[in-house]
Symmetry: C2
Subunit: 260 residues, 2 copies
Amino acid sequence: MMKTAAEVREACRSGRWTGPTCGLAPDYVQANLAVFPKDWAYDFLLFAQRNPKPVPVLEVGDAGDFRISRIAANADVRTDLPKYRIWKNGILEEEVTDISRYWRDDLVYFLIGCSFSFEEALVDEGLPVRHIEENVNVPMYRTSLMCEGAGKIPDTPMVVSMRPYTPEQAVRAAKITGQMPFVHGAPVHIGNPSEIGITDIAKPDFGDAVTVNPGEIPVFWACGVTPQSAVMEAKPPFMISHAPGHMFVGDKRNDDFRIR
Amino acid sequence: MMKTAAEVREACRSGRWTGPTCGLAPDYVQANLAVFPKDWAYDFLLFAQRNPKPVPVLEVGDAGDFRISRIAANADVRTDLPKYRIWKNGILEEEVTDISRYWRDDLVYFLIGCSFSFEEALVDEGLPVRHIEENVNVPMYRTSLMCEGAGKIPDTPMVVSMRPYTPEQAVRAAKITGQMPFVHGAPVHIGNPSEIGITDIAKPDFGDAVTVNPGEIPVFWACGVTPQSAVMEAKPPFMISHAPGHMFVGDKRNDDFRIR
């Protein structure tokens, strides 16, 4: 198994690895990718500033610059993720494993924090994560909580991820993730799903349903799918994202993003 | 004395208060102001993203919008600060108490976190703040720590503020302010000033010198003067800032910015 972030990036760059990054190089921060033409970059950065829980920005490149230098050393955003998606006018056009031929001088990349970072912290402190135990994708829901738009990006429903815990565990999980404001932070809601507009907890809008045991309550965190959902609604003429689960792996440690 | 933020803003708006805001409406968050034409806004927001310790952005307006609605209710950035500075090409042109006649449809305001917020937390936890005790301005220094530029804003030396503490107090102060990443966060340096390029602790570049007692070490925090210094170097054709010490007072509490 690949143990370091540099090994994962090298395997992606050479084409040897094109699969999901979940479980690879544990301890290292993983990040969502969004690439926009320069004339969309301000609106996206402002959307992130206004909605830091769903959109915690870890690094932004200069226009045209494909080198990643802040959360990783010697990385190349064009080749170092296992899989990318090319979007035109809000429609998915293609999945590719290298975006070199799409790169342009006016493109700006955004690397955005990911819940993998806080899940490691939860597990380390003895709080099991149900969807990992059940080996499925985390359940995600559209909510009635609204994110504030910015420029061409409209007000959009926040997407949340859910992990079930006992009330005692929920308190500890809230405290731990509250110490990680740069990777989604504290829960946005605990308990009754209908209070945030979720009608059926067994039917997530994205990902898979997980078991909620008797005595457990659902705990909801702001989710990195939110910006994708907002941007798809805004329909930029051109945009590149990572393929779901196929993240950028940086050299910083998850623990670097925790405040104690 | 004015006890609430709304009282302070009303007094500024009516012209009854044009003095510094230090000590007014304690508990309420105070913020630095920077206003730019839209074509400078992206570079400034990106500079802030890359340098969150000296430039913690609390709220950004839409272009042309003078209403402040996120860290305060029913506030107007044109009238609700006691004193402003008008800058042209990096040169201070004028000090005014109302910027209504300067407001334009392409202006974007940025409200930026201020060390008043963490000083309240320090005092509340029994850590005296020397420059408050000595009734002078906090000492500030240009350092050899560099901030990363963004677009038209160049790489610039970080400006830091200094408060002397015993080593035991310094540890507690670091912990408390580390819990406030949105208002400058943990110290950037503790101890020997020369390690960050400060040659004489008795001669600050801005503000006033304070007593460092035997057994105390200087503790340095990223300072909100940094963006002003960076921007002055970049010489935008037009810009508005608050006058030093004459801050915006919001309805959020300082404690809202603390993570425990």
